[in-house]
Symmetry: C2
Subunit: 326 residues, 2 copies
């Protein structure tokens, strides 16, 4: 889905190179799995995270840059993202990913476990090649750790009656915002910006990540499955209670209790009832407001970045990306 | 099971420090998972791979060493091993690991996926801390990649009628010998030996790994489940055809055909029949011979190592470890 970048030809061209770098990295003896991974890397993904990385790397246009290194790091970020998606699909029993059949549905969960592991390795292999000796190696390992802790937090709060908004934020902080944070801060660093800009980049990445995930969670309550390429009310049925539900439940806990008490046995009809309640009790509205605040904060931090072509593009992209149609 | 090392007090003491290093590394918000991982790291494992690493690091007694670094690397090797075990148990549906309930049986496959991922991250985190800037970072990433390719090879040849001994060797090369290779070569390197010794160390590790895995595969046909803490004929039932079966099948393909054609539907009674055939057609005997040759080759390479206390210990340990009771 690099067509998403039709209005950003410079970044689109770079992302094509990132795509080739990923393809080159994915050489596996088993050609069937190799082809699946390459298809997966090319189908449907917008490459948002590597794009942010590359845009932040452009903030200091006069710094000397190692273009090969930048492409390798951009590719590593997408590989890490792909690895987590493959393992997420095992957990969620997802039949579909990026409009195609998911690895777990196609090859079974067993192969999906090792395939995800393999991508984690490719991620490390690539960053080690790109930046051996840099303090950012350690930062990458720690970011990946926080990402997995976020996933584990989410597992831990499944079907939890008294899950708080704080629990939710802690989980999405790790599982989503962390990788956006990494992409932006790493871009600024390897693009040769100063330390202050690097810090701003991190804040922007974090806020974009939170807004992005909240928007995604809203879609579970509002989009139809056709539009999203994924089954709707999936999170809810699997006991993942996201922000719209948590806001609505604060308003009328008694209305939700009988449904949520059913836990794993909740039917699709019940889930649809819950979704209606979420809308009635302003859960979606409040979550949209919440995401909007993070978006606004990101935009205002972007304004503080040093003036450059890159800054304008980041601003425009953030607006487009986060003002989604629900 | 550090009692395995009662006759090697020096190495036992170091392994206790490795154990503490692992415990320190495993700090997770979810205390239940943290405790499970710590218990897992302490229960039953012999720490063979870190022990080999530490022994090879002693081959150059007069070289300057960074003891803290050596402990970190030794711990990283065990963490990588633990991560693969947790994911293997998902694939094998194993209820038991190291005499305890497996992570997947205790917490479900979902948590086991992320828990294994977390250990992969801890592995990388630790080696990056221990050796940022070293060429061995890249070697580690590549070793992990070959390890996963070995696992994928094994998945790929499941229930494959015409699996060859070459297929089998390729798979165990990756999934087992690779980590033994890494432990030995890395030990020699960070212990400060010369390049020639490093190379010998790698050959020894590889040969020990092959012999070790073949021995393990023989146990699937000979040990009782009590002795091994794992269900017997597990590999066979899951379509993993190991060396004893492959040797026996060469001898009498027709005898095995009706059983193997049943694939996933093979019963436990059938599997017991196959095990008897494997013994009748000398499969176990030939596999023992095969393992013995690798053991002998390892021992004769060990003799070429520079004289030192470490060399004697490696020789003695290799003999003990590989002359198992079947």
């Amino acid at each position: 889905m690099l067509s998403y970048w039709n209005n950003y030809p410079t970044i689109q061209k770079k992302l094509q190179t990132v795509c080739l770098q990923i393809e080159e990295q994915l050489t596996v003896r088993n050609k069937e799995i190799q082809n699946t991974l390459i298809e997966f890397s090319q189908a449907g993904g917008k490459y948002l995270r590597p794009a942010l990385f590359l845009l932040f790397a452009e903030l200091a246009p006069h710094s000397k840059k190692d273009e090969k290194q930048l492409i390798q790091i951009a590719a590593s970020i997408e590989l890490l993202h792909m690895a987590t998606l493959i393992h997420d699909d095992i957990i969620d029993d997802s039949p579909v990913r990026r409009g195609n059949i998911s690895v777990q549905a196609h090859y079974g969960k067993d192969i999906a476990v090792y395939t995800g592991d393999l991508l984690f390795t490719e991620f490390f292999d690539l960053i080690i090649k790109a930046m051996n000796g840099s303090k950012f190696l350690e930062i990458n390992a720690q970011a990946m750790k926080r990402l997995l802790l976020g996933e584990l937090d989410q597992m831990h709060t499944r079907y939890k009656k008294n899950e708080t908004i704080e629990d939710y934020l802690q989980s999405i902080n790790g599982k989503t915002a962390e990788l956006f944070w990494l992409a932006c801060v790493e871009g600024a660093h390897f693009g040769g910006t100063d330390h202050a800009t690097e810090k701003l980049a991190g804040q922007i990445g974090h806020d974009i990540g939170i807004a992005f995930q909240v928007n995604d969670d809203i879609l579970d309550y509002t989009a139809d499955s056709n539009q999203l390429n994924k089954p709707i009310l999936e999170d809810l049925s699997q006991g993942v209670y996201t922000l719209p539900l948590l806001f609505a439940k604060q308003e009328a806990p008694e209305a939700f209790r009988p449904y949520l008490e059913k836990k794993e046995t909740i039917s699709y009809e019940d889930a649809k009832q819950v979704a209606e309640l979420v809308i009635i009790y302003q859960g979606v509205e409040k979550a949209k407001q919440f995401a909007l605040e993070y978006t606004k904060r990101a935009l205002s931090t972007i304004e503080q970045l040093p003036d450059s072509q890159g800054k304008q593009t980041i601003y425009q992209l953030t607006k487009e990306m986060l003002h989604r149609t629900y």
